[in-house]
């Protein structure tokens, strides 16, 4: 239970960086911290006590493996989610670079003011 709660604290830190910070790159870092926390939460839900990784080795017995393996479904979903996170991060960084070239600053307040 405390692991879930600490994980949620991590999510809240990312949300705070996204909402309250003025630097665009800090906002991007907040999004990526939130993403870490969500991925970790899904993996934590699928963990089984004294479980093994869901990979069948040669010397393992199949019936005991089925009883002790951790949940493979959230792992499969998180695996693609991590890669998509890289894609969206590339998109956000590209937008930040273009905004800097256009306005000469990373400050959100300044950008809103400059637009008039």
């Amino acid at each position: 239970m405390t692991l879930y709660f600490l994980n949620f604290v991590l999510f809240i830190i990312g949300l705070y960086a996204l909402v309250a910070k003025r630097h665009i790159v800090k906002k991007i870092l907040g999004v990526s911290i939130m993403e870490y926390s969500v991925n970790l939460f899904l993996i934590l839900i699928g963990f089984k006590k004294s479980g093994v990784a869901p990979i069948l080795m040669k010397d393992m017995d199949l019936s005991t493996f089925i009883k002790t393996a951790v949940d493979p479904l959230p792992q499969a979903l998180v695996l693609t989610s991590i890669v998509i996170g890289l894609g969206t991060l590339a998109l956000m960084v590209a937008m930040a670079i273009r905004i800097y070239e256009r306005y000469g600053t990373f400050d959100m307040h300044e950008i809103n003011r400059l637009r008039g």
Partner: protein
């Protein structure tokens, strides 16, 4: 039991690293500390029985560090916040964070306890995976066989985001367009 203590320590390290990321003034240091958080996350995945995800996380972390350093290395490295502006100075933010955390504490009690997952769907994959797919890695069998359409859709999302980044960052078409506008104005 030992693993549980280790997981708590690693999660505490991640929280400290993300606090440093949020509050430090030098942007390059902020990017590097978020990289440290990501590598701690990959160690956590390793101890939670997910070696595939740990490997993927390391690779993605290195690539995203390169991207973020590219966005911060050439420009002013200092954060814009004023000197006295930090978490404790903003009272409304603190109150809302406290309320959200209190509700989260109560709502997490309605989840299943840590270490006892609900295997209603996955038990089928574990039982039938070896017989129907033949892959010994069950994560791979879920990605590429049981939920292959899901993976296809996510590949489409990945393609869309990458082509969007490419379209934003391209340079040649934009300059051509500018020349075209200038010629148009002269005539």
């Amino acid at each position: 039991m030992n693993t549980l203590v280790l997981l708590h320590i690693l999660l505490g390290f991640m929280i400290i690293g993300s606090l440093v990321t949020v509050e430090i003034r030098n942007m390059l240091s902020a990017v590097i500390s978020v990289g440290a958080v990501g590598f701690a996350l990959s160690i956590m995945f390793l101890f939670l029985g997910a070696p595939d995800i740990a490997i993927t996380q390391v690779i993605v972390e290195i690539l995203s560090l390169i991207l973020l350093i590219r966005s911060t290395i050439n420009v002013d490295n200092m954060a814009i916040e004023k000197r006295g502006e930090h978490v404790l100075s903003n009272r409304a933010t603190l109150i809302f964070i406290g309320i959200i955390l209190a509700f989260a504490w109560f709502s997490f009690h309605s989840l299943r306890p840590f270490g006892y997952p609900s295997m209603r769907v996955s038990q089928f994959y574990l039982n039938q995976g070896l017989k129907e797919v033949g892959a010994t890695n069950f994560v791979t069998s879920v990605i590429l066989d049981f939920r292959a359409y899901d993976t296809l859709g996510e590949a489409m999302v990945l393609f869309t985001s990458i082509s969007g980044a490419f379209a934003i960052l391209r340079r040649w078409k934009r300059e051509q367009h500018k020349d075209f506008l200038r010629i148009d104005r002269e005539h």
